[in-house]
Amino acid sequence: MPKRVLLGLLLACGLAAPALAQEPKTGGTINAVIQPEPPGLMLALVQNGPTQMVSGNIFEGLLRYSPKLEPQPELAESWSISEDAKTYTFKLRKGVTWHDGKPFTAADVLFSIEMLKKTHARARTNLAQVDKIEAPDDYTVVFTLKQPFGPFLGIFEVGSMPMVPKHLYEGTDWKTNPYNNAPVGTGPFMFKEWQKGSFIRLVKNPNYYEKGKPYIDEIYWQIIPDAAARSVAYETGKVDVLPGGSVENFDVPRLSKLKDTCVTGAGWEFFSPLAWLWLNNRQGPLADKRVRQAIMYAIDRDFAKDVIWNGLGKVATGPSASTIKYYTDDVKKYPFDPAKAKALLKEAGYKGEKIRLLPLAYGETWQRWGEAVKQNLQDVGMNIETIATDVAGGNQKIADWDYDIAFTYLYQYGDPALGVGRNYISSNIAKGQMFNNVEGYTNPEIDKLFADGAVATPDSKRKEIYEKAQKILVEDVPVAWMLELQFPTITRCKVKNLITTAIGVNDGFKDAWLDK
């Protein structure tokens, strides 16, 4: 059974590392896959997944996050919060230099934030509660908020708020700045060269402020457009690191069984991708809560996890992934129970009206998942018609509310106020846009809970509010939550300590080392 082997490997890798507790060794080259080729590497301008993965090792944020999403020092070495939770004071690390030798100071922080507000949509939203930012001296930055904002300490991750060198960007046209092609950061690795279509090469920053780090001499990000070729590249030893999502799921068990191969699902806690089915709450049978609940009972989510995702991931219990703050599993449970689903459908008076299902056109895994869900729903008597579409066409249909059931997955960014509420509050219903409340769920109580939760203090109060919101949502089933996805990272076991933070490979090479 491939599944068992995979589990065994996961355990073996997880347990073996701390047991041995080796001293890190210095030196060596790592070849990793980057998929697809990033459109650019200037993190403040481009935030695609692959850009974040490469540039997260060149640039740095003020904070880093542990797998439990606790903030850790990075460019800020300490921080304090005022009594009224409206003033955040960050003390910056001294002796930090940009890759070109210029010192990193508070002026760079102020400049970066001004720039990001114009170039980075999510940073702009995250900073909406900020009233003013000041730098009393070169190594202190003070944020004053309009009102307390609970998730504030969660917005300083490198991909969400990368620090940009003021001396290279101030007064230039950001979009055409020559340093976009040879980015200069403060991170453990420096950009060296990029042969388009072939590889991106990063080399060790010899003046890195954490003495002794990084351990690796250079990283080659190999660009290999074909999924099968990426698997082969790993098998033949051309690459040692396959970040999450770079090979197809069904190749994971086979690759995991190879000698000296370690697999982990960790390193995605900050993103916590959660897959669900949009259910169009506005029209037809799905407007009835009982039909939506029936869908939850009808779908065999364990099967999807074990078979389609090769055992990686976790069955979702509600709107929050289990890695998100204030998550609770003390909510209504929806086990796989076709009989109950049938009973609910009957109760709701469902008479075989046609229901359209839009799978996600992201490749084989998602196609198969669409087929499995369709079969599950047909088995309880629902009349499902699959609509074939491409990614853009699917997005268009969903944004225009022209669907009944549609697959999706979204990142959650660590806090319900940053990544969860947006999909359920009624102020986020806007036709023509994706990834908001496209299901058309409206509940004034939920609106109020998410509004209160974002600004409530202290933490225990927020916890109470968000737990209540989760209970209500899970009862109402505005969307059908499927799985907390895990994108397994496959590495040679000699690559140690690669995944230590909540964003995994994205900033992982700082601590990684090679056991020769």
């Binding site: 087929e371 079969q375 018609e385």
Partner: protein
Amino acid sequence: MKQFWKSMLKSPSGVIGLIILLLAISVAVFGPMLFPNSPWRMVQRPFLPPFTLSTVPLGTDALGRDVFAGMIFGARVSLLVGLVSTLVALIVGVPIGAMAGYFGGKVDDALMRFTEFFQTIPSFALAIVLVAILQPSIYSIVASIAVVSWPPVARLVRGEVLSLRTREYVQAAVVTGQSNGWIILREILPNALSSVIVLASLMVATAILLESSLSFLGLGDPNLISWGYMVGAGRTVIRQAWWITVFPGIAILISVLGLNLIGEGLNDALNPRLSREGR
């Protein structure tokens, strides 16, 4: 008619082709009665190799669906698409070819330029574009296959009509004052039929291949299982589970081969002079 069957049964390829076609048709018609369950149903554990369980003789695919059931239901889709799209292509192609050949002159020019317009576009590329635009469904697939396969029919019929319209019996019909439509239908087309039938049998084979290719690329009807879809879906796991692609692949091969053999047999039977000269 008797003569036809006699010569048809004399050619070994025709006989083999007929047997294969009858087999395929009976599977398509009666098979689903033996397998009341939907072929999409997940019945066993995934990746079960063939010949291990008698309930799923050809193993299961990546989701634990019965490969054998898929092949049975796939036969229905493949044959249906093949036959219907050929029929549509004939309905479009025969009248256009007949009119072009019979009337000649400007009508011929106009119709043939129109036909060439379709012929200049690579047919598979055109089919892909059409299905992608119309959204993949059984109707759009049949329509797009028909659209790309009628031009050869039109050209063939035109050529036949062109030569037949100068025959004495046609001229006699013209002299007796029969209408053009009547002459085309009663005098010319029946005599052109044999070549059209041969072509049609090969077109069914091509249509099955086209449908399989479209499904292989993920442009099949998502609600219907077909051989091409099975090959396409299994392709990515071919290293772990060869049987998911191999069996439907064999089914495509055999049915296309069978139709080609029939075409050959028909050719022998309908053009006895040609085949006798050949021997």
